[in-house]
């Protein structure tokens, strides 16, 4: 009899289940949302808030690094306003 490895089984299973979530059609997601009484818009808003917070952390970190690297030199504006990183919709 072979030894049971729950951790390995779980890893494989979670991998497969994540594939199922990725493969779910838009219609399946909408149907589930409707049946369960939660709205896609509300969930999407929650996720966007997390993304925005993470983005804010990264921008803050970039700004601090930029400031630190210019210690003793003439300061430039920080990178907070740069590029598409900041074109986040709400």
């Amino acid at each position: 009899m072979t030894r049971w490895h729950p951790s390995r089984d779980l890893t494989r299973l979670l991998e497969a289940l994540s594939g199922e979530i990725l493969a779910a059609s838009d219609e399946q997601v909408r149907q589930t949302s409707g049946l369960q009484g939660w709205t896609i818009a509300n969930t999407a808003r929650d996720v966007r808030e997390v993304i925005m917070a993470a983005h804010g952390d990264v921008s803050g970190s970039l700004n601090r690094n930029c400031d630190l690297s210019e210690t003793g030199a003439k300061r430039r504006p920080t990178r907070a306003g740069r590029g598409s990183l900041h074109n986040w919709r709400h």
């Binding site: 494989r12 289940l17 979530i21 493969a23 929650d46 997390v50 993470a54």
Partner: protein
């Protein structure tokens, strides 16, 4: 070397292996691309993203929840420490990053636990680095068994789904699952669709 020194060295080596350090130019270009891709995700994609975050973060040590893991994943891809490979869909990529982060948290929890054990037990102070990662961790095994049981419970009453789940846990391909259980392709596909709905339906109960 003291026990504390050994554990610190293990931690440092582990973290060095887990950390990728691309140059600053690459990071900037990469961050802009990945930010645009994340920005372009539809509401339905964001629901999938949350479901993936909940799936990977279930039962994590330290009370971490889906939003902690998603936050960390987004930060790592935006700062360029996790480069987005070409031809990998953004959702699949983010799912992989979250899985990796969760594995890091489990590794860290194991290292911290070993530090505590080694303080009390001199016999535990000489684990080589590689061996330390292979030593079975009873708590992790128990947590994995409980999580597996929870997943099976999710599909209780759906015999075909349980067969597919068991096959997935064994690492079997779809064709093998059908052959072993004498399941038609139609039954397999129909059950998979049912499983997806169940997964999405219960995702809000997986992780805080």
């Amino acid at each position: 070397m003291s026990a504390l020194g050994s554990v610190k060295r293990i931690y440092r080596v582990t973290m060095e292996r887990l950390t990728i350090a691309p140059n600053a130019d690459d990071r900037g270009a990469h961050a802009a691309d990945v930010a645009s891709a994340i920005d372009a995700l539809s509401d339905v994609d964001l629901v999938r993203l949350q479901a993936l975050a909940r799936l990977w973060s279930r039962d994590l040590p330290g009370g971490l929840g889906w939003s902690d893991i998603l936050h960390e994943a987004i930060a790592r891809v935006l700062d360029g420490s996790r480069p987005w490979p070409p031809d990998v869909p953004i959702l699949a990529f983010l799912s992989g990053v979250m899985r990796s982060i969760c594995n890091d948290h489990w590794r860290r929890a194991r290292l911290e636990q070993r530090l505590l054990v080694s303080r009390d037990d001199p016999d535990q102070r000489s684990w080589p680095c590689e061996e330390a990662h292979e030593v079975p961790d009873p708590e992790r095994v128990l947590a994995a068994a409980q999580t597996l049981a929870n997943v099976y419970r999710l599909f209780a009453g759906d015999l075909l789904a349980l067969k597919i789940i068991a096959g997935m846990a064994d690492g079997l391909a779809a064709r093998e699952i059908c052959r072993i259980h004498d399941m038609s392709e139609l039954d397999y596909d129909t059950t998979r669709r049912r499983m997806r709905r169940t997964l999405l339906r219960h995702q809000q109960n997986w992780s805080k």
